[in-house]
Symmetry: C2
Amino acid sequence: MANIREIAEKAGVSIATVSRYLNGTERVSKESGSKIQREIDRVGYVPNALAKAIFTKKSEVIALMIPNIVNPFFNQLATVIEELCHEKGYTLMLCNTEDNKEKEAKYIDVLKAHRVAGIIASRPKCKEQYLNCNIPVVSFENKIGDSIVSVSSDNYDGGRIAFEHLYEKGCRKILHIKGPDTFDATEQRYAGFSDAARERDMEVDVVNFKTDFNLKMLSEDLNNLDCKIEDYDGVFVFNDIAAAVIIKYLKANNVDIPKDVKIIGFDDSFISELINVSLTTIRQPIEELGEALARILLDEIEGKEVPKDDIMIKTEIIERETTLV
Amino acid sequence: MANIREIAEKAGVSIATVSRYLNGTERVSKESGSKIQREIDRVGYVPNALAKAIFTKKSEVIALMIPNIVNPFFNQLATVIEELCHEKGYTLMLCNTEDNKEKEAKYIDVLKAHRVAGIIASRPKCKEQYLNCNIPVVSFENKIGDSIVSVSSDNYDGGRIAFEHLYEKGCRKILHIKGPDTFDATEQRYAGFSDAARERDMEVDVVNFKTDFNLKMLSEDLNNLDCKIEDYDGVFVFNDIAAAVIIKYLKANNVDIPKDVKIIGFDDSFISELINVSLTTIRQPIEELGEALARILLDEIEGKEVPKDDIMIKTEIIERETTLV
């Protein structure tokens, strides 16, 4: 593939002239223009978004950082965002950070270098880098800083709803399985859940999982618990996929769900419907979340005034078989 | 963010001089160099992979086209490929084509413009564009052309294995649910399945699904069938996620699996383990597929001689509860 320098050399003009010609915003003499075009036609020079991005400072790529591509929740969110970006003429690239700070940092460098139009940062870890990257950024869940809008579900309230549901279903020995410390949302789910328990004068046990998506690691987490899940009559799990792993474990141990143990997940990703027994879960409004993230970022890219208030969207409970009595 | 033109203006040199300086491959006078560097330091110009990519014709981005980000199989494949690319210093960007030719074409344009180092095209539709894009390409499943290596599972043999398994388990009224016409692999799975049936002097019924991943559409496909799945004693479904939808439907209709109906999926994605009843399936060797795709592409990018023979990797059956008698 020919590059801009070769075109300039062959056409006998400067690189700056070629770039002006490609960019189309400044005058290039008719003679130079036709020489350049002849060379472009001859070598099959492609429409050069890359060169254009350098000179206009913009590309038409929006990047979505996702912490784990195997978690259906993020895939459904990505699908919503992709459609909205596509409608507006932007191409969405997905970057799978695997909740790894080093990988996320490398992605940011690459995205900066490629002058992407904007970044949607899910559960961001590299806060300083986002603040200094000079690219419009919106965050999902973890807050980056005052200048960057964050969008999330109301995780605290979701935790409260989960406790109330188990309590109303008669559970009195309740366990919460909390997600890894890397994401703020799991803290908020826990806070809402335990506050609601305290108001009922109840104590809940809490155990930590180290991972939120890797099935092998989830099974290891499950084997390393210092409590027996089957000793509880109600379990609130921080996400649907971990809840599915726990349901599988309980079924293998002949525990009757929901009779002996009732279970609630979080997300309402498609997995909650697909598994048998189907999972009661706290629905994150994936459509609304995706729309808010895409809309705010696109507005920022287009230079519109964007209020810097964070957006929090209500969750709701979706009752299915795991708590059906 | 400052651009190369502003740097050139402020430093009082030409854009070509700035690009030579950034590129580092050609001589720039010491005086110009220090003027440029001063401006770069002053405005915080970022290491410019974009400018570099124009002049060296390379970036360190590899793109993976996936037809549907919600299908766990592709997410697991992406995870394997991402790790291998990361080890070699490349960043993997995911492009979710949704099996939509127009979207795929736009992605190719954007990737060309950004001078990505290579593309892994899963189930490609835009064959001409890949053949003419002047970027190393490897394909997964659908064949693009003689010059591009394709990697796939041995889908034909997988179909044969599926039939033999149902037959050995005593099924004599067998249905095959075939995937959409957009991917070649489903044809091969069907061909292997029906050839094996013919050799046993058996007839199998076949119905088509229009989608392979969208849950809402899968349910519609299921409702529009002109046969009743529960009338069969053995069903081979073209992928795991569609099989999970069918299991859910049968359970809702009080069909005993595996006693009344035995089911086999295809992929061995994590969903097959997670659902109850767990799914017997034809395992695609995701690790080996991902490794082959990444290795061939990386070799091509590094200019190594790559044999143009297609690669086909054996499948195997993983027995779980849906056929356990």
